[in-house]
Every structure is written in C-alpha cells, then in structure tokens.
Symmetry: C2
Subunit: 365 residues, 2 copies
C-alpha cells in the first residue's frame, strides 16, 4: 500500500478540478470515493505562482516523495519555479533542545509579519525526525500563533533519511516557497550533528540560540557551530535570569573576538531576549536587517548565495559518489574485513583504501 | 630527466653496499659515476629497525616518490614496519606564520630530549610547500639546536601536492620513524587551510600556538581550529609583553568554557611561554604528559588512534573517488558548463549534479 506521505492528496485541501465524476469508470473515482484530478507540472507551477498555499503544500509533498513519477513532476515544477526564486531573506535558526526554539520562532515570525508584512515560511532540517501526522500537528501546535496566521506556511522537516536527502528537499522547498511569494524563510535545525552545516549552507543569516550558564545545555551544541553564527541570541532573559544572561552575553562577545573575522566582514553580534515574554525580539530583527544591508552593500550576500549553489552541486556529487561506493553490497562486505585489518595493525589505512577502490572500479566495468 | 626528489640517493649519505665496481658494465656504475646498490625492501626494513637514520631518510624519500616502482617498494617497507609502529607520543603543533613555530619547536624538542631522553622526529604537513634543497636546509637551520642533535630526525613537508597526498606521506613517515625507534613525533603544520584537520587526525595531542593581542596575527588562524586544540600556548610571554599574554590566556580560558567539553573529557589548558628565552616550556610538556596519562587511563588514547586509522581509510577512499570524477577530462569540461548554468539560475544544484553523475557512470562502463 502506498504510504500516505507519498500521496500528494494528503498534503492539503482538495483542489477543484473543474471536472465532475460521471460514471464508475471515471478515472478520478478511486477506492469508491471522489478523488481530485492529478495536477500536471504546469498546474502546480501556475498555482504556486498565484500564491496558492494548498497547491504549494502538495508540490512540497511531491518534492518529498521518493516515488520516481512524483520526483519527475517535482523536478519539472522546481525548474519552472527557479526563475521566480531567490527574492527572500533566508534565516537559519539553531539551538539545543530546550533552548526554546519553537516558542522563539513563533514570536520571531509574528513580530516579523507585523512589522515588515510580506509572507513567512518556516521549514526545518532534521534528518532524525520520524515524521508522522502527529508530529506535523505537534510542530504546528508548538507555533500556536504562526500556525493560524494567514501569511505563514509551516512545514516540518522531510522524513528521516540521509542528511543530504533531507537538505536537498528543504532547499528545493525554499525555491517553491519563494516562487509562491514567500519573502521571508526561516529554516530551523537541531543543535546536533551535521544539520547545522547543511542549514548554514542554505541561509543568508545563521542565528544561534543559546542559554545562559555553562551547564549541560551548552554541551549539546556541536563543536564548530559557534563559529558559523552571524548572530548569537541568549533566550530566557527574564525575571531572575537577566543578570546571568547579560554576563553570558559579555562572555560570548569576548569569545567572538578571539575568532578570526568572518569572510562577510560582519562581526557576529550577541543579544539577549525572552521568547516567552517577547522581549528583545525587535532588536534581533534589526540586527538581521542591518546584516543584510551590510552584506548586500559589500557584495557578500550575492557571493554567499553563489557559493551555496556551487556547494550543493559539489556536495550532491560527493554524496552520490560515496553512496554508489558504500552501498555496493560487495564493497560493504569487503569494508568490514578491511576495517578490521586496519584496526589490527595488519594493513595501513591507505593500502586498505586502495584495495577497496580497485575492487569497486572493477565491479563498475 | 628524473627529478632529484624522486631519487632515494639524494636522501642522505651513501650506504656502503659492500660491492665494488669492477667494470664498465657494472650495473651500479651509471652515468659515469659510482652509484650505490639499490636496497631491497628487506634492506630498508632491517636498516630502519636497527635505527639507521640514513636508511630511514632514504625510505622516506621512497615514500614521497611518485614513481610506481618506488611506491611499490615503499608500501612493502611500510607494511613490514607497521607491527613495530605506534609506540610513540605524537604531538601536532600549529600556529600562524610569525607565531615563532620553528624557534618554539627547536626549544620544545631540546627540552624534551634533555628531560625525557629517547628520540625525536619532527615532520610537517604543508601542501603549499615548494620543497627544494634550499628550503630543506632552511628548515633545518631554523631549528638550529635540534638539527645537530644526534637523537633528532627533521624532515620537512613532502612536496606540494594534494592535501590528501601530503598527509598520507606524513602518516606513512610516522610509521617508519616509530619503527626506527623514534618515540616522540612532532608534526608541524601551518595555520591556514585544511592542513590542521589533517594534522589533528594523526596526532595524540594538538597544540595551538597563539600570540597575545587581537590584531592581524589572529586573523590568519582558520575558523574551527581553536576547537581542535588540546592545549593553547601563548608565545612571546617575555619583557613588556607578559601582562598582555596573561590577559590573553585568561580570555582564551574563558572562551574555552563556552565550548562543549571535548570527547576526550580533557578541558584544553592555556599556558604562556617564551620560545626565545625558553621560559614555560617545562610546563607545556607537563601538560602534554598529563593529558597522555589522562586519556590512556580513560581509554580515549586508544579510541582516538583507532578512529584516526578508520578516518584515513575513509578519507583516502573519498579523496580517490572524487579524484576519479573531477580529474576525468570529459567531466571537467561538463562541470564548467553546469556550474555556469547553476549560477545563472537555469538549473538547480541537484539537477546539475545528477547530469554530471549520469555522464560519469556511463563513461566508466
């Protein structure tokens, strides 16, 4: 049976096809109930360009589908939307679990729509996510203000899979959202693993949510992430916690001075806020817009987007080359033995690699 | 004409072959001058295991040679030395140019040999290095005390090439040095590019040399390097500079607290020293040995070495898979056009990658 996730029908409301069922052999009548007309790539593109969020949702479901026929339509839709994409501000948001990411994004988004207008899409990269109907609702419920806002579009992370696959789908979804007129994109990611690098590689501004204190909270942040941040914001700066947060902000500011200046020429800023009470959120967006003006003026904005496009082309090549190698059953078997020999000190890492590569290329011939 | 770099004869003094030339057809008489006997793999291994540094030097030259016949012998030598390797402490040392790395390594090495005895090899990873006779002498001259010490072996970075190639040769040289009884290995690297990651991935302790001040010196350090360090040492802590260095040390210590605890469970230490006057060097080695005791006790020492062996196997596979793809002339031509299409917004990064991969696998068949 087809998994509901791969069926575009489940993505949203029924689209009026303009065709009524006339008989039992009507192709749109399936499993005894009325089924809407399958949309063509042009239908999707037209709907997306008209800003129809139902069709946008269905198109994203196609993008996320692993069924070849869906993928074919999806790629055609993406290609046709590509010329209409790119005209948004893309902001990545990361932070450890319990940093209050969802509440913060809800507040950030509502503030942004109120002050700047336009339309906001909230996407996610989380390769570990087991997406079910439940967690979609869960995500939307956690963003209780945005989820009912008419100008927002919330989409949880694509289903669990390789990071490359999940990242690709999110990047393609950005294209569709932009073509549908969403001029503000937030990409949420979790504070662990390689997801941050992927997220950082598709946004214009990377915001890191931290908490005050050097306790366990910080231990969940992967090494290297702090250096990716264009801005660090410390949540829960309210009540008794204000002094502690301001001290933490000073510590982060001092620490950032020890790092080399980022390529953007922008010294990352450190701010405090309260997602729960909504304090300090105006300043966060002022920082983001100040950054965007700064890097648009010095050419880095365009440069970063171009580098990202190249990055994903090369990254996709690397991932698929490696996939072809490591998923080859003969190689996978050999790999176990070679790794054991290397660890036992019977063979150098390089000789083991060479034997595996020789075998692989012989298999391809 | 054969490049001198690829000729093992140039690596050191002549080895007495025990065979005298008897006639013009004597195979050891070549180009009108006396040439020593070509050593067999067993000869090299025997010499290395006896601690003969001349033969060690020649074997390293073989390892660095790109001539297939040399590589074949080199791999046999390495394989036979492998069971005798691994019994050293390997310390990586990085820092920006002008941080005083060479003077520091000279002092570090002399101190270590005086206090702990044993034998010390100093190797390097610098893929940008254009190795010539001149710079070999240059390196040795810069380490003026170590270069004349009977228990030291100094070898500059292998010739310019891919980082993977350079790193591989350095890693193989470590094996030969250890088999020759060198129980202390220092691997120097420059403060830019990916060389630090490569160096970090072959040592037990990664030491980062910093300077006080937030001026231009620090801008040369690549982002992410500070988080690799097991210890940070601030040079030039002498004369008027002492207060500034101690302030910098405090700042680094505070900054390190903002990072997650490393997997080793060891909180990186920050010390000050003066390479020129030789102050504070005892404390640096005490830190290194304290670290080694700590990670040997908690099992991380063995774990890190195993992870490194696996890392280099996988890294070598990745590098060669990509080399096969990107060095393919048809693909290289296509790549230019695809990259242009991606940057012009005519094609997504993923579609471009797919077209290239399809072409590549068709070519291999």
């Amino acid at each position: 049976m087809e998994h509901p996730e791969n069926n575009p029908e489940y993505a949203g409301l029924t689209v009026n096809s303009g065709v009524a069922p006339v008989s039992n052999i009507n192709p749109y009548l399936k499993r005894g109930r009325f089924v809407r007309k399958q949309l063509s790539a042009s239908d999707y593109v037209e709907g997306i360009l008209n800003g129809n969020v139902t069709i946008l949702g269905q198109a994203v479901t196609l993008v996320e589908s692993t069924i070849p026929a869906h993928q074919q339509v999806a790629q055609e839709v993406i290609e046709k939307c590509l010329p209409y994409s790119g005209k948004s501000i893309r902001v990545g948001i990361s932070g450890v679990p319990r940093a209050g990411k969802s509440t913060s994004i809800d507040e950030f988004g509502i503030h942004l729509l109120r002050e700047k207008g336009g339309k906001l899409a909230v996407l996610a990269i989380d390769p570990s996510s087991e997406r079910t109907k439940g967690s979609i609702l869960g995500d939307k419920t956690r963003m209780e203000k945005l989820s009912v806002h008419p100008d927002s579009f919330i989409r949880p992370s694509p289903s669990a899979g390789s990071l490359g696959g999940v990242a690709r789908k999110t990047r393609e979804t950005i294209i569709l959202c932009e073509a549908a007129g969403f001029d503000k994109i937030l990409v949420e990611t979790v504070g662990v693993g390689q997801s941050e690098t992927a997220c950082h590689s598709m946004v214009d501004f990377f915001l890191l949510i931290q908490l005050a204190g050097t306790g366990d909270e910080l231990q969940g942040i992967k090494r290297g992430i702090m250096e990716m941040a264009d801005g660090i914001v410390i949540n829960k700066c309210d009540g008794n916690n204000v002094d502690k947060c301001q001290l933490a902000a000073t510590q982060f500011r001092n620490a950032l001075h020890l790092f080399p200046m980022p390529e953007s020429g922008w010294l990352p800023q450190v701010l405090t806020y309260s997602g729960f009470y909504g304090y300090g959120i105006r300043e966060i967006w002022e920082m983001v817009y100040q950054y965007v003006d700064f890097v648009k003026a010095n050419g880095y904005f365009e440069h970063r987007r171009n580098e990202q496009s190249k990055y994903w082309m090369y990254e996709s090549i690397r991932e698929q080359l490696q996939g072809s190698f490591f998923h080859n059953p003969t190689i996978a078997d050999m790999l176990v033995a070679e790794e054991r020999a290397v660890l036992a000190g019977q063979r150098t890492s390089f000789v083991a690699a060479k034997q595996l590569l020789d075998a692989y290329f012989a298999l391809l011939r």
